[in-house]
Subunit: 292 residues, 2 copies
């Protein structure tokens, strides 16, 4: 899909370019692999969400941008590892060979490992943030990325669920961990940098969790309905690998209804935030209507 905001993409990519090790620095192959996957035309959805939420709470770009990049590093590391032959075994990502196809499995594993490390280092060393905030953000990011609450737990649950029929509660549990946790944490991290109150953070959490669900349902729908060109990867892959998906469990019509419901809930959550939320609202619109 196209990005939520093209100007965010440029901003994030300039900063990522500064934060990542140079491709010419040894070990060159690992650094090439990192840059191959990070600069593969990603949507930068999590950084855009973090920046938009932070700005709703009056935080400056300067205080938000490095943490936004740290979220993109964690997201990219997870894509590299999830694509590996022993995991989802994907050869194509965003229209290009996946990291292990291009650089070999060992280098892909190391590139993912190094990207995860760099995400935490980036936040720990961000001198635009006071140390209390850095520590809070590292905890937030780690909980969303790891187990038992986060992304790695979701990937493990997703793989366990392959080749068996999951029930609605299990499907939600998989997605809440696998994609939801990091999306919620991106929104919350923007709000944390903007010094949101506890009540505001609760509302942001609510917004993020409905937005995350919407993101996943539309992702599942696109896997069924979009063309390979729009998607940048092979459509129909979920059904083929018997992944747990919304269309697989509910059918297309009910999945679209579930998306509409998540959309409304995300918008309602925004109404409880007494801040300028136009941009956060436009993100929900964008995700509902995305075509790739």
């Amino acid at each position: 899909m196209k990005s939520v905001f093209p100007d965010t993409v440029a901003l994030v990519e300039v900063e990522l370019n500064k934060l990542l090790p140079a491709a010419a620095a040894p070990p060159e192959k690992v650094h090439h692999a990192i840059r191959w996957s990070v600069f593969a035309g990603g949507k930068r959805f999590r950084p855009a969400l973090l920046l938009a939420t932070g700005k709703a709470f009056n935080a400056t770009t300067e205080t938000l941008i490095k943490t936004a990049c740290a979220f993109e590093m964690i997201h990219t590391y997870s894509l590299i590892h999830d694509d590996l032959p022993s995991m989802d075994d994907d050869d194509l990502r965003r229209g290009r060979p996946t990291c292990h196809v291009r650089f070999g499995e060992a280098t892909a594993i190391l590139a993912g490992d190094a990207l995860q490390t760099l995400a935490f280092r980036t936040v720990a060393e961000d001198e635009n943030l006071d140390v209390n905030t850095r520590v809070a953000l590292i905890s937030e990011l780690a909980r969303a990325a790891g187990t038992p609450e986060g992304m790695v737990a979701g990937q493990a649950l997703d793989m366990e669920a392959e080749a068996r029929q999951v029930n609605p509660a299990e499907l939600e549990e998989i997605h809440r961990h696998k994609t939801g946790a990091l999306i919620v944490a991106a929104a919350r991290s923007g709000a944390i940098i903007g010094r949101a109150t506890e009540a505001e953070l609760d509302a942001v959490t609510n917004y993020g969790s409905h937005l995350g669900l919407l993101f996943q349902i539309t992702d599942d729908l696109l896997d069924v309905t979009a063309s390979a060109e729009d998607l940048g990867k092979t459509p129909g892959k979920d059904a083929e690998s018997r992944k747990a998906t919304y269309p697989g469990l509910y059918g297309l019509d009910d999945s679209r209804e579930a998306a509409a419901k998540a959309y409304r809930a995300a918008c309602e959550a925004l109404e409880r935030i007494d801040r300028p939320t136009t941009v956060l609202r436009s993100i929900v619109d964008f995700i509902l209507n995305r075509t790739g």
Copy 2:
């Protein structure tokens, strides 16, 4: 090998048991895999070194123990990933099947990923440390674990060097990254928690880097000379896979001389630290004389 200090092992394992997700918590398989590898009879060398260095600088066990466990988590994650078929392809570790042999490749990758995440979360959430110290430790740990300066860089350089003759400078470069960086950082982190001065930190860095070199040379020597029983893994594996090693490059006698030289340099570095360093000295003695 036996541990440097048996009482440290018990202390570290009690704390690791508290910090790691319960095996019964979902995703169970990943949590079982994490515990399988973490509680596999490791020597706890890095935690022991961190605790000993911290105590030389008057830090309490309470302020040191969680960071010590974080180092063991990073070390264990690296063993799990290094043992994978596409990396060093090891079936046996400490006398037991490696993580991917026991739980499958996908679970081993996820277990390593989650352990790395938990290491950073553990330090970020350690309420026995002020936030300035936590941030400094996370930066220290991340630099030692990642690229271009740390462990992942070392593993990449090591794999690049397989099946070709390396020169002495390249061999040192590999080991300085692959094992040295984390050992140096463990010693430094103890000193940081103990509020060492910059001059003291420099001396600790010096001590750690000679100790790290000694550790690697004796490790290489044991791969040639020790029995499988003492080693808990298949000896001769390095030569078979054409890994870059000290005995491979220098022969046994010159490697033993290099070990003696590293031993003396580590002891000399300790003489420049005006603190009670008896325990730090006994670690150097132990590593020189280890038999497994």
